[in-house]
Structure formats: C-alpha cells, structure tokens
Amino acid sequence: MTLRELHPGQSARIDAVDASQPGVVRLMVLGLIEGVEVQYQNSAIGGDPMEVSVYGAAISIRKQQAASFRISPITPNV
C-alpha cells in the first residue's frame, strides 16, 4: 500500500521511499522518510494534492509523488 491510498484522518508509518522518482527528494528534505508516522489531514477538491502531517508539520504532496511512499496503516488514535 502507498500513501496515495490512505484515507483522510488515517495514520500510517512510512516503510520505504523510492527516491529515484521526480519530486520525491524535496519531500524527503521536508521530513517524509522511512520510520516516521504520517497522518492524512486534508486535500484540495478531488483529493489531489493531499495534506499530510509528520510531527505536527503539514506538507502538501501530489498523488503522483504519494505513490512513491510505501506505508503500513496504523489505527488512528482517536
């Protein structure tokens, strides 16, 4: 499963990042790397781009790049 398939409000842990895809390095520099927990916050109309947060910092990410992040979902701690 990739970040692309996450549902709004859901959290996940990043397992692997394919850094060779265009635009992915920039997202890694903003903190989306293996081992951290991300949460899908919001999106623009149509679900693209999505807003995910890591350690409280919100990052905008397009669906195309989101597909480069392999994740395992964790139950949202509501």
Partner: protein, 728 residues
C-alpha cells in the same frame, strides 16, 4: 557668560550607540517567527540593500547590546542547505559566504520553531557542520505549550553537543534579554561539536579536508561538494582528487540514490531518535475552535473560503483605494495650477506642471492600491493563507503546466505586474518561473482600468442584460480575457520553449497564525520602498520623455493665433462666457500643438500601420504615448481631442463618439472599440514591467520576447475583431 554650568546626567540615562563589530546571519525555517524575532532585536534600525549581482534584497539591522553591537542579516527561510528556489539559494549562498563582495557571516543566530522542531533540527544539523559560532533561539514556545507539546531543552542540548538553546517569545519579548547576553558573547563562543547523525559522512569529510588542505576548501564546502555533484565546489574537489575517487566515495556514502535523499534519511533518522526522547506530546485536548478550523480546512469549504477572501481583497483594493487615488489626482492638479499661476507660460512651466508634477503624480497615484494589496498579501502570507491558496489551486495550475506556487504571483499581478514578477522567486524551477513571469503581465492591472473605464463608459450602453449590467459584463470579460491570455501563454510556453519535466509541488503548509503587527508594517514599508524604487523611477522617467515628445517642437504660429483669437474673444464676451470661450480656444491650440509635435507626427507616420485596426492618427499617437506606461493614454487622448488634460469623462466620451474620419465615417465603431479594448488587455505597455523582467531574468531575451509577443497578439487580435466585425 563667565559662569560655566556643569550638568550631571545619571550614567544609566545615557544610551551609547555602538557600531556593529560583527555580522550575524539570522537563519531558520520559513514561518518560524524568524522575521518577528529579527524585528524585535533590531527595532527600526534596519536597512534594505542589494547583494551585488543578485536580485534578492538584503535585509540587515543592528542590534544594540550592553557593551557592543552586532549586524544581523535576515535571510529567507529555508529547510535545508540544498537551495531549491532562487530565494532559498540566496540564503544558502549568504550563509556559506559564496556571494562576492559579501563576507561569510561571523556567526549564526539559528531560529528553531518549538512547534516544528522536526524540520528545524534538520537544518540545525547542517548548519552545525559549518563550525561557526552559533546561538540558537527557540521561538513559539508559548504555542507549543498551548498545543500540548512538552520539550525538554536539557535533553535537546545534550544531543546537540552541549549547545545552548534560548527559549523566547518574540511577540511579548520574553527571553530576549538572555538571548542578547548570549549574542554578546557570540564572538568568544566555540563552534559547536558536529552532531553524530552521520558518522561516515563526518569522518569522510575530515579525511578529505586533510587531503585537500592546499585548496583551502572548508569542511562545509567539502560536504556540500559531495552532496551536490553539479556544484562549483564539486568540480574543485573532483579536479583535485580525480573523478574516480570522488565517485567511489559518493557510491559508498549514498549508494545509487540521489545524495540528498541519503542525507535526509540519515539526518531525519537522527532527529527522529532525538525527538523520541526530548519531545512529548500530551494527548490532544481539542480546544474551542479547533473543530471549526478543521472543518474549514476540508476541500470544499476551504476552496469557497479562498474565493470569498479573494473577492473581498479585490473589493477592498479597488473601493478603498479609489477615494485616495482621487485625492492624489486632485492634489497633483491643484499643485500644477498653483505653479502655472506663478510661473510665466512657456516650456519651463509646462515641464514642471505637465512633466514633473504629472510624472510624480502618476507614480504615487498607484500607491494606495499597491499598499492595500501589499497589506492584504502580507497578512495572508504571514497567517499561512497563501500557502493554502497555492495548495488549493495546484490542480488548476497543473492543467497549464505550472504548479500551485504560481498562484501567488498571479494574484498580485491584478494590482501591478512589478511586485508579481518579483514574487516569482519562490518558484523552484527556472522554466516554471519564467512561464509565470510571462503570464503575469496579462492580468488586468490597475493601470489598465482608467482606459477600460473610459472606453466602456463611452461605447457600451448602460443597460441591463438579465440580472447584470452590460458595462459590468464587458469589464468582467476583459478580466477573463487577461486571465485566459496569461494562462494560454504559460501553457504554450511550457509546451515549446520552456518544455521540461512537470513542475513538482512539495510545500510545507503552515497552520493558521495571527500575523504580528510590527512585522506586517515593517514588511509593508519595505515593499512600498522597493516598488517606488523599481517602478517609480521608470514610470517617472517615462512621464518626462512622453511630455517632451508631446511638447516639442513648439509652433510659434499657433501661439500667436491663440493670443489674437483670445483678444478678439475678450472684446465680444464677458464673465463666465468669456472664461468658457478662452478655455475652448486654449484646448484647441493645445490640440493643434500636439498634432504637430513629435508625438503627433509619430502618430501620423504610424497611422497606416493601425488603419487596418480602424485607428486614426489620434488614437495611434495616444497608443504610442502609452507604450512606456499605459496609464498616460487617457491624458493624451484628452489633449488630442482638445478637451484639456483633466478631461471630464463626459466631455471626452462625447468627443470620442463624434470623432470622424475625413470622409465623415465615425472612428469609434463597436468593432473598433472592442479591438482597442483587446489591444489594451493583451499589449505589454509598461516600461516598469519590462525593466523588472530584465532584472529578474538577468538579460534582455525574455523582456524582448514578452514585448514582441504581447504586442503582436494584441495587434492581431484587434485586427481580426475590427475586420470581422466590420464585415458582419
């Protein structure tokens, strides 16, 4: 005066201004409260200058300490030393001392946002590699506490090799005194120990520094050279040790992936482990308003709110500015009348009234709109709204080959293209940046409005179509024409000359925050100053040139005729009637003078070019006069149609309606007016914009292209409308 009095002033009342002894760069993530802290420390003792050879402005100020002073240099916020956009590259280049004529800073004041330690610690690690004296300030500690984030500063300091962290609340000033004490001691501070986030990189860098000692490359440059293979430093390193050796080192450190990806993994991995220990999040208790805010951030509500806010901004820009602009206009006219009454008639009087005063007036008449727009943009920027706007509009901009980051410049260009073009510096990719620069001048700026208003009032009937007013609909159409023209241009360029990989869009989204009043005002003054300097000088110079072309050569015959006819009138009219008659005669003389001036001759000379568009020499002359600055067109038309420069709209529209060709056909027909409007919507008639494009793109290629392209499509569009319209 034999007695000498001695005044005793208590020592603590004397404030001694020290001169700055060292230069400290203030650096941190975007939206980390860095500028607010900078303003707090320097107060109003700030200057804005330029880095030699670079378009980005240098903001510096002096902070007065107990026994000394330091120069602080505020830099654009960055996330890493990679430098993706022009703005970020400047920050990196200044910190690393790579700008010629600007020495490397003597120390760093690093700003860490307590609510975004994750990204802040990433940058901090990279900065620690520089081995410069460093003071770390932690901002937003109040916000962090309020949102349940518990940070152990002791633990953080231990992980950072004992470096001191000073918590401050920049808005209230808490902690500033302690921070100043630390800054006072910065010169004697020892450089921080390198964090142990990536031992392999550290040891490799140390070895390389030793083996390349004779090149004088500092440690940070060696690291940057390894991580950025395309850079100048990388070339020096490769030349010195051989491509093979360096390639092997890179392979060992980074594997097959981009070096910055490997760096992000190592450094964020380290941050992750540090934060596990140093930061704890209390289970979030939802505060009042949090639910509403979350709801407002959902796709549809946020998009609707975006358009509502934009509508409000435009409404404010135009309705609040109109009375102010009217006032400035009146003031300029009043001043010109006073001068004209004092000075004898002639070239000098005309130069001062129609040249200098009108020129200065035409610069400051834009200030109300520009200032109001800037005020909104700064408030929206500092509250985090603009980043959201870019996020929400990304999808639409993608369809023309751009990204959400082009939205902010395009919005600014509805007031003026000059600040819009400067705002493109945040766009990482050069091709996307240029495509945005080419699209921005199409948007309906405030200088186009007087022309639109005049032509619409004169030739579009004031009647309603369904629920709408026809004149309003035409104005809306002209706005849409600008938007369509700009977006189509970006789309075409991105498919041809600027073809390249799809623009990426990775943006940090700051949460909503109330902007700080002092920061907003300082930014506003700063941008107003830059606008006046960049656009003001060009617009003023242009006003003087256009005045000269319209004034010279002066025909003595016309003036003699005027005097004799006035004396005739004086014998046959009295009172108001006489005054009216004299004004009429003067206006006709002015029109005759303009007709035989250089501008009038140019209009006649160029008339054949514009005849296919249905324009006579008068319209052609006004259009030529408008090429350097489109807003002069209405004044030139006023003179040329002999209604005086401060033409009442009603009298000018009357003249325009009755203007005819020599054979009696009306000049201003519906197709001709529609063509003229389209020409104004698309043509690049603004020397200030051209100068700004040249500055921001470092050359004449793009400004020349923009001018030629926009003039051509404006001409062809007007030609098609007139010719097709005349057949139908």
């Amino acid at each position: 005066m034999s007695e000498v009095e001695t005044a005793y002033i208590p020592v603590d009342k004397i404030s001694i201004r020290h001169r700055a002894t060292a230069s400290i760069a203030v650096i941190g993530n975007p939206n980390s409260g860095k500028s607010t802290l900078f303003n707090r420390l320097t107060g109003l003792r700030q200057t804005t200058g330029n880095y030699p050879g670079v378009t980005v402005e240098k903001h510096s100020g002096t902070v007065q300490l107990n026994g000394s002073a330091l120069e602080l240099v505020d830099l654009p916020g960055i996330y890493c030393l990679g430098g993706f956009s022009a703005d970020e590259r400047i920050a990196v280049d200044v910190v690393l001392g790579r700008i010629e004529g600007t020495p490397r800073p003597d120390g760093l004041l690093v700003v860490l946002d307590a609510t975004h330690l994750y990204q802040g610690l990433y940058l901090l690690q990279q900065l620690m590699e520089m081995q410069l004296p460093m003071v770390v300030a932690m901002t937003m500690t109040d916000v962090a506490t309020a949102s349940g984030i518990d940070i152990s500063i002791e633990v953080l300091q231990r992980h950072l090799g004992g470096i001191q962290i000073y918590p401050v609340v920049a808005t209230s000033g808490r902690g500033l005194d302690t921070l100043k004490e630390a800054l006072e001691a910065i010169a004697n501070a020892t450089a921080p120990a390198v964090p142990e986030s990536w031992p392999e990189l550290s040891s490799t860098a140390d070895e390389l520094v030793k083996s390349t000692a004779d090149t004088g490359l500092p440690r940070i440059d060696v690291i940057q050279a390894l991580i950025h293979p395309e850079s100048k430093r990388a070339a020096i390193l490769e030349e010195h040790l051989g491509n093979r050796t360096i390639a092997e080192i890179r392979d060992r450190l980074f594997g097959k992936e981009p070096p910055q990806a490997a760096e992000a993994r190592h450094r964020y991995g380290w941050v992750h482990s540090v934060l596990q220990e140093a930061q704890h999040r209390a289970p979030l208790i939802e505060r009042y308003g949090a639910r509403t805010r979350r709801w407002l951030n959902r796709p549809w509500p946020s998009t609707i709110m975006f358009f509502a806010v934009m509508a409000l901004v435009f409404q404010a820009v135009f309705s609040w500015a109109t009375p102010l602009m009217g006032g400035i206009d009146l003031g300029a006219t009043f001043l010109a009348d006073q001068v004209a009454a004092v000075l004898p008639q002639g070239a000098l009087s005309s130069f001062i009234t129609d040249g200098v005063i009108a020129g200065v007036g035409s610069v400051i008449v834009f200030l109300p709109q520009i200032l109001i727009l800037f005020l909104f943009i700064i408030v929206l920027e500092d509250s985090g709204f603009l980043a959201r706007a870019a996020f929400l509009m990304d999808r639409i901009m993608r369809s023309v080959g751009l990204s959400g980051q082009s939205v902010i410049p395009m919005l600014s260009s509805f007031a003026c293209a000059v600040p819009a073009i400067m705002a493109t510096r945040v766009i990482p990719n050069r091709r996307d940046r240029i495509a945005t620069i080419m699209a921005a001048p199409f948007m309906t700026c405030s200088a186009r409005l007087p022309v639109y208003a005049l032509l619409i009032a004169a030739f579009v009937p004031d009647e309603s179509v369904g629920w709408f007013n026809l004149q309003g609909l035409v104005l809306l159409g002209l706005y849409l024409l600008g938007i369509v023209g700009g977006l189509a241009t970006a789309w075409l360029l991105k498919r041809s000359a600027l073809r390249g990989p799809k623009p990426q869009f990775a943006l940090a989204l700051p949460e909503f925050r109330w902007p700080n009043l002092q920061t907003v005002l300082i930014k506003l003054l700063d941008r107003a100053r830059i606008f006046l300097k960049r656009a003001g000088t060009v617009i003023f110079a242009v006003a003087i040139i256009v005045w000269g072309l319209a004034y010279f050569p002066r025909s003595a015959e016309i003036q003699t005729n005027l005097h004799s006819t006035i004396s005739q009138a004086e014998s046959s009219y009295r009172g108001d009637q006489l005054e009216k008659e004299v004004r009429e005669l003067e206006n006709h003389a002015a029109a005759a003078q303009l007709e035989q001036s250089y501008l009038g001759r140019a209009g006649r000379f160029i008339e054949p070019v514009f005849t296919p568009l249905g324009w006579d020499w008068r319209v052609s002359a006004a259009v030529i006069a408008g090429f350097p600055a489109r807003e002069v067109v209405v004044a030139v038309m006023g003179t040329i149609y002999a209604v005086g420069e401060e033409a009442e709209e009603a009298s000018l529209t009357g003249k325009l309606r009755s203007a005819t060709w020599p054979d009696g056909r009306p000049i201003f027909t519906v197709p001709m007016v529609l063509g003229l409007l389209l020409f104004y919507a698309w043509c690049l008639q603004c020397a200030a914009t051209i100068a700004t494009i040249r500055r921001e793109t470092n050359g004449w290629r793009w400004p020349l292209f923009a001018w030629t392209y926009m003039t051509t499509i404006g001409y062809v569009g007007a030609l098609l409308i007139y010719q097709l319209g005349s057949i139908l």
